[in-house]
């Protein structure tokens, strides 16, 4: 089979969730203006004389999402969480970042759904009621309400490639090389893990870099010398140009991670001071019809029930031609008697 790189390019993470910085920014702007237009129309139709509220800018929305991501991280201890869950959370936040849905949807609610669904997609089947009990004033219904919205948002791509396994591999490789004291490797290992649990989750690293690049960047933050040694080993046969290209990428990724070092996790005061006014703003400008996810979910189901009889079966069926439709009747009867 093709190289590891080629295989990565087949993954949904690469196909759907890798962007250039420019593309990501334009998507964010687009989502933002889409929401503004829809909400303006809704508010004006209800009370034409009121002035429209001031809307959040794309940058402000991003700060909000980052804030809620950080808020969620300490909850890990509640959920026999591992590294895998952590990264999942971020992954499932991707739609938020990309589509800026929190105009429409309350972020705190959505984050619970992210957590629950993330566990499910990773094969931890946690009982819904047990899960809901871990949060104040939360019912299972509320947790599930956004499950479809969320899945749609991430285009049903549930697999996430993460840098944690890569890190384990790198550490084994470093030990095998035998150039460094175990103590030094252990220290870097621990530090890199701490970085990976936080920094890539609150920056755009996952959108721009591969898991192994993110791993190397975190390891470089922990101990630059180790990464240099690894690159020398990895590119021994390919020459300096290839090595430098990779090294540059790692440095760029590192610069991104360094903006949000793990020490910032506990820096609540600063974050809150930025977030408070944003939240106030959000409450004024969010879509009034989509605040209550449970009601929205119910309305959707009910509407589907009502509309059922006139599902355009005929219109679609006609495309297949009458003869097939006739054959279909007899066949169906046949299978019915068989069963």
């Amino acid at each position: 089979m093709a190289t590891e790189d080629a295989r990565y390019r087949q993954s949904s993470q690469y196909r759907l969730w890798s962007f250039t910085t420019g593309h990501l920014a334009s998507l964010r702007n687009e989502c933002n203006s889409l929401a503004q237009k829809a909400i303006s129309a809704r508010l004006q139709s209800a009370s034409p004389n009121d002035a429209l509220p001031e809307f959040l800018t794309p940058a402000e929305e991003l700060s909000l999402v980052t804030h809620y991501t950080v808020e969620l991280l300490p909850r890990r201890c509640l959920h026999r969480a591992t590294d895998r869950d952590t990264r999942h959370r971020r992954h499932l936040l991707a739609p938020l970042l990309r589509h800026q849905q929190h105009y429409d949807l309350p972020p705190t609610e959505l984050l619970k759904t992210c957590l629950f669904f993330g566990c499910k997609a990773e094969g931890h089947y946690m009982r819904l009621s047990k899960f809901a009990d871990k949060f104040p004033n939360t019912t299972g219904e509320e947790v599930l309400a956004a499950e479809y919205v969320l899945s749609q948002g991430i285009r049903f791509a549930f697999d996430v490639r993460h840098p944690f396994r890569a890190l384990e591999g790198a550490i084994m490789e470093l030990r095998r090389l035998g150039d460094f004291e175990n103590k030094r490797i252990d220290r870097a290992h621990g530090k890199a893990r701490e970085i990976l649990k936080f920094s890539p989750l609150v920056t755009d690293a996952y959108f721009h870099y591969t898991p192994s690049q993110i791993m190397l960047a975190a390891l470089a933050m922990a101990d630059e010398g180790l990464v240099e040694r690894m690159l020398r080993e990895a590119f021994a046969a390919q020459g300096d140009a290839a090595k430098e290209k990779c090294g540059d990428l790692v440095q760029a990724c590192r610069a991104m991670l360094e903006k949000e070092p793990p020490e910032k996790m506990n820096d609540n005061e600063e974050r809150k001071s930025i977030i408070k006014p944003l939240n106030r703003k959000l409450k004024k400008c969010r879509d009034p019809d989509r605040v209550d996810l449970v009601a929205l979910q119910k309305a959707r189901r009910e509407q589907a029930m009502v509309k059922k009889p006139k599902v355009p079966v005929k219109e679609d069926g006609a495309v297949f031609g009458g003869s097939i439709a006739d054959g279909r009747e007899s066949k169906r009867r046949k299978t019915e008697t068989e069963e």
Partner: protein
């Protein structure tokens, strides 16, 4: 696909204004969890009825619009399967598998569906069923748009001894395609966990495709347990029957071996009616697992064997039953049925086995035997709608095995 901006025109504000005024406003049942009351009364119905879609709804709608749903190919407890066409090119057919909402399962989206979607999204290989896209319909059912495979499955061919005749070259071709599919899964760290003849569907050109990833999962991390309650009984390896919680890709290889045996015998080789009987059949048909041939086996949680110990059967036994595939073929079969999973051959090594290069050469896929008539289409409908992990047993026993979702999978 999702990288495209997708929104042709912005949702029409006028349309929205028309459909969402408060005249049919539902009582504002929105929970006001401390949020200041908005100036506009929340009205979820209005949001649903309005023409405005947020970006992800819009993307979903675009995916849905790409296909036309046609006649129903099959209906089951777990899913319905429809024939579909690509709207822009109606000559292209697809199968649309609509997952039903299971009322008894109150934990949201079904884990079977989540597993199937998760893995098929990542696996792109000629011998694995292609997942074109996924969309959700208005009533929030999941719809999987799959490659349409009209020629039924290997089970029909195996069973129809009166009309379908095939030989070693054909078996070799089918086994080659199956082995490549399984190798590809394992190479991508996916365990299929439900390999059996009726999950091997046949495309119009004769290509065999591994389908039904409803029980699949990625390889576990070290120390993390998995459920042993997977793989349809007749194809389930001894380590799972003994309740092992840590296992490897070797579980799939055992199933591949039994499909191989079944292709040759034209009947399941080890068809137990219960798990105990299945173990019994393995002891008799392969050999009794003991500490000698499988160090550590007696420590497995559900290790039980009868007093009568059969030594691991030798080549003579297999030659008598499967000799038609030749000396090398028998060797390959025996290696897939090694009791100790650590010694069992891997899918990768299966591909390197000399059998493939011995005469007869595998049949070209266009020349492979096939079943004529419309039966294949019906069968494919029946295959796709089935709940994973269930033995069909001639449809006498329709009770689905209950999987325990409480434990780690």
């Amino acid at each position: 696909m999702a990288v495209s901006p997708l929104v042709d025109g912005l949702p029409n504000p006028a349309a929205r204004a028309v459909s969402s005024p408060l005249k049919n406003a539902a009582p504002a049942q929105a929970s006001s969890n401390g949020t200041p009351v908005p100036a506009v009364a929340p009205n979820a119905t209005a949001a649903v009825q309005s023409a405005a879609l947020d970006l992800s709804e819009q993307m979903n709608e675009d995916e849905k619009r790409k296909y036309i749903k046609g006649k129903k190919l099959g209906e089951g407890t777990y899913a319905n399967v429809y024939l579909g066409q690509v709207r822009n090119d109606p000559s292209q057919l697809v199968a649309i598998k609509k997952i039903k909402i299971n009322k008894e399962y109150t934990e949201g989206m079904s884990p079977d569906a989540v597993r199937e979607i998760k893995h098929l999204q990542e696996l792109d290989h000629p011998n694995i069923i292609k997942l074109h896209t996924v969309f959700s319909s208005k009533d929030q059912n999941l719809n999987l748009v799959l490659e349409f495979l009209p020629l039924g499955d290997l089970e029909i061919l195996i069973k129809d001894t009166a009309n379908v005749h095939y030989g070693v070259a054909d078996t070799k071709a089918w086994m080659g395609m199956l082995t490549r599919a399984v190798w590809f899964c394992h190479e991508n760290f996916v365990l299929h966990r439900d390999i059996k003849p009726n999950n091997l569907l046949i495309a119009a050109d004769g290509e065999v495709k591994l389908a039904d990833f409803g029980l699949a999962r990625s390889f576990s991390d070290p120390y993390r347990p998995m459920t042993s309650n997977v793989i349809t009984r007749w194809y389930r390896p001894p380590e799972l029957l003994f309740g092992a919680r840590h296992y490897s890709a070797a579980v799939d290889v055992w199933s591949v071996g039994l499909v191989f045996a079944e292709l040759v015998m034209r009947a399941p080789y080890l068809a137990g009616n219960t798990e105990l009987e299945q173990i019994e059949l393995i002891c008799k048909g392969v050999g009794t697992p003991t500490e000698e041939n499988w160090p550590g086996v007696t420590k497995l949680p559900e290790y039980t064997i009868s007093n009568q110990i059969t030594p691991v059967l030798g080549k003579d036994h297999y030659n008598a039953l499967f000799g038609t595939v030749g000396n090398e073929g028998v060797d390959l079969l025996m290696k897939t049925l090694i009791l100790d999973p650590r010694k069992r051959i891997t899918a990768r090594d299966m591909l390197k086995h000399p059998w493939w290069h011995k005469d007869p050469k595998p049949t070209r896929k266009k020349e492979l035997p096939r079943k004529s008539g419309g039966e294949g289409e019906e069968k494919v409908g029946a295959d796709l709608k089935r709940r994973p992990g269930v033995v069909d047993e001639d449809k006498t026993n329709k009770v689905a095995r209950k999987l325990d979702f409480g434990g780690p999978l």
